[in-house]
């Protein structure tokens, strides 16, 4: 890190410990749960299961209760990117005609769709005794998704999300049933509008809830089975418990130094986003909470040399999670909270009525962290900054995601007005080619130095 030099003042030397981070141990079991989930999904065809491809909101409890298996498009795109296996799918998308500036989640999963069709064709052709298309081994994972039996789209906050599934539907020759849930953006025309309040909020909640009921009718029709409402209530019982445990654990990170960081919470996104609602999910988050509680008791910090407390705004950058975690740790910068981890994924469990969960579920779908006005986003950011004692905010300007990038420059101005430092990290959700590592490092160092100067002067 460079040094700050100022005339007539002693030189400010910032020691940098860069001590290794203490990653949570309990989140490792989440990784295994997620892997098991995908491995099981890959065999859905062989097991004769009905498979839905869906995008957007966490509709998995609905699918679980309908007795069908679910493949979340973004989740699979994120998984490929996190495993650095997104290349074949993205190349296939590019070959098909998708521009690199298009949402990289969409490009990845549409590329997967093309590969999945190729893979399916391979089996058909092999059965016919025809030539087997040559699919290179590196494309195996990207082509392993079981072909869908139906599509459900439920993308809040992003017009591209719905258009992307419209294209998925066309890629499969417009032959599969397709249901769309539409969401109003929580814009706030009226004076009483705000986070979880106002006439618009309630009207939007009822509108989405009505569509969820229609979705259930759609699933009943296509599965030929009555929807299992008791199974939904049971699943939402577990999800509500798990969500509350997650919130309790997040709140423990107000401690200084913090016992867990944003990167630990990133590891817990998949379980809360799309794993089945059951006792395993509750046990997982109980384990995470217990580990953090013990750390607080024992005085164990996530970063032994914590010197800066930062917030991360925007969507995840799946190709770079580990790399970013190390870079911030090397600079003793504890990233403590973030929009994607803290303002999403069943983050208001009190809204869920276990006996009649649809309205509360609809409200959570509306609470997608990209479905708010900038004013609300700014207020939530400032709330988190105050809650967690944040010194600076890192905004992830996500090259191919306008949805996650909307409002950020205004939010930065709102944070700056409160004396909070800000910086922009240029990257992308699932395309590593948009990263500019050196620019990130120099901006991070500049921000941390500014925080030091401010501390010294005030």
């Amino acid at each position: 890190m460079s040094l700050i030099k100022q005339n007539a003042q002693p030189k400010l030397v910032i020691p940098q410990t860069g001590a290794p981070a203490n990653r949570l141990v309990s989140t490792r079991s989440g990784g295994k749960m997620v892997k098991d989930y995908w491995d099981r999904l890959f065999s859905a065809r062989e097991r004769g299961a009905t498979v839905v491809w869906y995008n957007g909101a966490a509709l998995n409890p609905i699918f679980q209760a309908a007795g069908i298996e679910w493949c979340h498009g973004e989740a699979f795109g994120a998984r490929l990117a996190a495993m650095h296996l997104e290349g074949p799918a993205q190349r296939m998308g590019e070959e098909y005609g998708y521009n690199q500036e298009l949402c990289s989640y969409a490009r990845t999963t549409l590329g997967c769709a093309v590969l999945t069709q190729k893979e399916a064709a391979k089996y058909v052709n092999a059965g016919d005794g025809a030539d087997v298309p040559d699919i290179p081994s590196q494309e195996v994972l990207a082509s392993k998704l079981p072909p869908p039996d139906l599509f459900v789209n439920a993308y809040a906050g992003c017009s591209t999300g719905q258009q992307w599934d419209e294209i998925s539907y066309r890629l499969f020759n417009k032959e599969l049933p397709f249901f769309k849930v539409s969401y109003p953006l929580l814009w706030g025309n009226k004076a009483d509008a705000g986070y979880l309040r106002g006439e618009e909020w309630m009207e939007a909640s009822r509108y989405v809830a009505a569509q969820i009921h229609k979705l259930i009718e759609f699933l009943e029709f296509h599965t030929g089975r009555p929807f299992d409402w008791d199974a939904l209530r049971e699943s939402m019982h577990y999800i509500k418990k798990a969500a509350q445990l997650r919130l309790d654990a997040l709140a423990l990170c107000k401690a200084t130094p913090t016992p867990a960081v944003f990167w630990d919470w990133v590891a817990s996104i998949a379980p809360i986003n799309f794993l089945p609602g059951n006792q395993d999910l509750v046990d997982y988050f109980a384990g995470v909470k217990a580990e953090i509680e013990q750390r607080v008791i024992d005085g164990v910090a996530a970063l032994p040399g914590e010197r800066y407390r930062l917030a991360f705004d925007g969507i995840m950058n799946w190709n770079k999670v580990g790399w970013l975690a190390n870079q911030f740790a090397d600079h003793d910068a504890a990233v403590i909270c973030g929009r994607y981890t803290h303002s999403s994924f069943w983050n208001e469990p009190h809204l869920i009525d276990e006996d009649d969960p649809i309205l509360g579920m609809a409200q959570h779908y509306l609470l997608c962290p990209f479905n708010h006005s900038t004013k609300t986003l700014g207020e939530l950011l400032l709330r988190d900054c105050e809650t967690y004692g944040i010194d600076g905010v890192v905004f992830h300007a996500t090259r191919t995601c306008r949805s996650a990038s909307n409002g950020q420059m205004v939010m930065a101005k709102m944070a700056q007005a409160r004396g909070i430092q800000t910086m922009v990290l240029e990257g992308d959700v699932a395309d590593a080619s948009f990263y500019k590592d050196e620019i990130l490092m120099s901006r991070l160092e500049a921000m941390l130095e500014t925080i030091d100067v401010r501390r010294r002067n005030f």
Partner: protein, 393 residues
Amino acid sequence: MNGADKINLILGELAGVASDPHGYAAAWKQETGRKVIGVFPMNFPSELVHAAGALPLVVQEDEAPITLGRSLLYEFYCGYTRSIVDQAATRKFDVYDAFYLVDHCVALLGAADALRFEIPDKPVFLAQYTASMDEAWTPAEIRKRVEDLRGALAEYCDAALSDDEIAASIAAYNRNRDMLRQIYALRRSGKIALTGRQMQILVKSSMIMEVGAHNERLDALLPLLETGLPAPANLVKLHLSGHFCHAPRPELLDMIEDCGTVIVDDDLFTGFRFIATDVPADGDPIAALTRWYFDRNTHVPCSTRSQMTVDWEEYLARSVHASGAEGVIILLAKFCEPHMLYYPELRKELMRSEIPHLLIETEHEGLALEMLRTRVEALLETIRLRKLQPVLA
């Protein structure tokens, strides 16, 4: 004054309006003392604003380079949205009293929200139209949004906004669209020689000018055009496709025509897409404006909408066949996601139908005209070779 001079006089006046929308709006405001309301593309029912006594002005991209707007929106947003925030930040939006929109484009909403921050004294009202057209409950939802608009505009403009007033505005706009479609039909048939730039002026000025005044100009123009000279027959006929929300630069259209082409048809937003569909003239005007939203997508499909039973690519191939166009140039505004997503579907259909085509990506700043000229010439070579193939064989 002969017919050509009269045509040039009218087109000249409309070109002035198209190139200086804020100047026109300021003059109109001074003359009438009424409100100017900026409306954002692509599905806003301007009839409601007109019926409320205000001037609905479809906010246009500005040619100025983006400067202060850079502090409100990242560079990876389309030129239109970056231009909107830049115009707000550079105080070019002073003439507007408020802004209204119905479209749920993620980039447009980001820009509109930045607008709220930058010019907080001007209301920005969103009546979000559901983009998915397939569901049985969508029409009722759209009707609610139309009613929301009616209520909000009545309150804001202190107007009654009666059924009769809305119906009168619908009639005026239908007449405007009808006359513009007549000009399109003349162009398709080759009976008139109207350049791409001139066609754009006609449509763009209709987005800005008070509809009654625009109708007067078209009333005078149409008979003059009908008696004018036909388009030269030896040029390669092209269809221009795409370019949502804002107009492609006229110099790009000039260059395409300079290469030896004539543009016979288009589905550009600042083109046929904008004027293709009338609002049903009879009955409840709110029901009619609701119906119009759905009709627009079945008449000229748009990839910003989600509708399983409608295909833009089929429409495009049909249009090309109907106009006798020999090739298609797809104009894609950089970073326009609905267009980027749909492009492979268009490409597949054009290839299947053996229609030569070229994709040109446009940007707000920088138009490499000479490089693009080479690509257009390559397309024309392909078309000419195809024409010669029966002879060569």
